[in-house]
């Protein structure tokens, strides 16, 4: 057993040293602490950051907690990132207030902080690279309204009721409907943790309960796929609007099962974050708010090179 323990430690360290070798080659190191790392969206942000790192000749790392609820795990990651004496830090806060002591520490150590994705409620970050989620969801509401003819019942399947993106997309959609389309009724808002299977079950129960439902908005990739699956299993024809991209959503839009979706510019978020960080290190000027934009895409423009560049598989 003693030997095994040792072996494990040696293997762990060996793996660690082997995998980390490239990092030590870097002069300028910028860790990005994100809200997650498993979803395709975050992988796209990561690839944007890596692209920028290559273009600007810096080294980046990218990590985030397993779920968006793990606020304290993210704080630990931020602490470890700071311990590595980085040149700058990119940070997408799960909870801004919880991170403030560490952000102050970064400020004291003169490490520039660039916020990305949903931003940080603090004046410490020098810039924020993000999508305006509320506006984007409002666009989704407009599209939904025109696709169902301006009246009828619709529903939402949202990934989370506590996270900023969940709240913004939900409220952005709901407020737009309430303000502009009095004949459209929102009959149900349900939360599926962004899990495809859970969202599928939720969708089926919504459809069972509302035989006249005309459309559902899935507020992130997992939710949207769940909505599609649920409608398919019950053989119901409804207008499905999604969010973000990914292989399945793209295929569904091409085949017409999904009317369309909002895409952010995740690659751009990653790229712009690193770009702003490098500018901050060099003392160059940059915008405080970096709107990375969002776009509606459907069957008609999915292969448009401008859109296709924003989509990920």
């Amino acid at each position: 057993m003693f030997k095994l323990r040792h072996l494990a430690a040696v293997v762990a360290l060996g793996t660690a040293v082997g995998l980390s070798a490239p990092v030590f080659a870097a002069d300028t190191y910028i860790p990005l602490i994100s809200k997650g790392f498993q979803h395709q969206f975050w992988q796209a942000v990561k690839s944007g950051a890596e692209q920028a790192a290559k273009d600007l000749n810096v080294k980046v790392t990218f990590e985030g907690p397993e779920t968006e609820a793990m606020v304290d795990k993210q704080i630990d990651m931020l602490a470890a990132a700071l311990a590595k004496n980085p040149a700058a830090i990119g940070f997408a806060a799960l909870d801004s207030q919880a991170a403030i002591p560490l952000l102050k520490k970064a400020q004291a150590a003169k490490i520039p902080v660039i916020a990305f994705d949903s931003g940080v409620d603090s004046d410490i970050p020098l810039a924020t690279a993000a999508t305006n989620n509320a506006l984007a969801a409002g666009l989704a509401a407009d599209k939904m309204a025109s696709l169902i003819g301006g009246e009828g019942d619709v529903a939402l399947v949202v990934h989370d009721q506590t996270s900023r993106t969940g709240i913004d997309r939900r409220d952005g959609f709901v407020n737009q409907i309430k303000a502009k389309y009095p004949k459209i009724k929102i009959v149900s808002i349900q939360y599926g943790a962004g899990d495809q299977l859970k969202s599928t079950e939720i969708t089926k129960s919504i459809l069972q309960a509302n035989p006249n439902l005309k459309g559902i908005f899935g507020a992130n990739e997992g939710s949207a796929i769940g909505v599609l699956n649920g409608a398919k299993e019950l053989k119901r024809k409804i207008v499905v609007i999604g969010y973000d991209s990914g292989k399945q959503q793209k295929a569904a839009i091409r085949s017409g099962e999904m009317a369309g979706a909002i895409t952010q510019n995740p690659v751009g978020i990653g790229y712009k974050t690193v770009e702003a960080a490098v500018k901050a290190i060099k003392g160059e000027k940059f915008d405080k708010v970096i709107d990375t934009g969002f776009y509606w895409f459907d069957k008609s423009n999915i292969d448009d090179p401008k859109i296709a560049a924003l989509l990920y598989d």
Partner: protein
Amino acid sequence: MSTDLSQTNDVSLRSLRAALFDSAAGQLLLAFASLIVLVAGFGIASPNFLQTDNLIGILQATAVNGVLAVASTYVIITGGIDLSVGTLMTFCAVIAGVFLTYWGYPIGVGVAAALICGALCGATSGFLIAKMEVPPFIATLGMMMLLKGLSLVISGTKPIYFNDTPDFPVIAQDSLIGYLVPSLPIPNAVLILFVVAVAASVVLRSTVLGRYIFALGSNEEAVRLSGVDTDFWKIVIYAVSGAICGIAGLLIASRLNSAQPALGQGYELDAIAAVVIGGTSLSGGRGTVLGTIIGSFIISVLTNGLRILSVAQEWQTVVTGVIIILAVYADIMRRRKT
């Protein structure tokens, strides 16, 4: 208790070997040695690892999981399991938030409310297990979900911030030690972890409660047939474990300056992993608090060290999984020998 085995006067080579490899004390020694090896290894691999800031970061990262793991240790030694420690922690944090932020009570009241709430929820699990004979796995699984839901309901699915009680975040974030030794700004959360651990260890070794925790884990029916009210003691044990989760809830709320209602699920698995790595047997009857603390540190040193070395996150998870399997395997080997 079984650690005393090594004190028998037979000092033959075999008993020495047995003391090292088979006994609980030996397991502790090995776990501690593994921890030292990890720290040394990471220290050599990266100059950033052994810096004070980072070491304090590790201590702080261990505080919450360490306290939860201590809570789980009691239950696991009785041969039970508690899957609700993570969400119970969150629930207690939310209760503290409700008392302090929503209702404006003084901090002492909020702290007491969180601890009492933890004890009551623990006692509820204990009641389900002892009196209604629901298997611990199921009873605490139910509690886990129930408490997660209640946290969301009570908080209105939003984090509750402690901005009106600026003294509350101080509990975990300030450093008493730092006042005395300015070069060692170890946050109070860590101090609290050690106080909890020492107290829990003393209770386990030197009180009637501790005696019954081991006895229940070794042979519950024999204890019942010895005239001990096992139902009552089980409820007490789960209640104490729940109160310790309440401490964890206060720590995390104080550290994050907020009660995060969606957090907590999954933390029970980290706690169980720490307990197991520390040499406590999942089949009950054997274990130490010290081992659990060492187990918690092994997990957080590993996590932090791999991060410092910028190992890809996917691989960090793989390594942690391997370590847990090895630890359980070691436990099984040990049991096969005796």
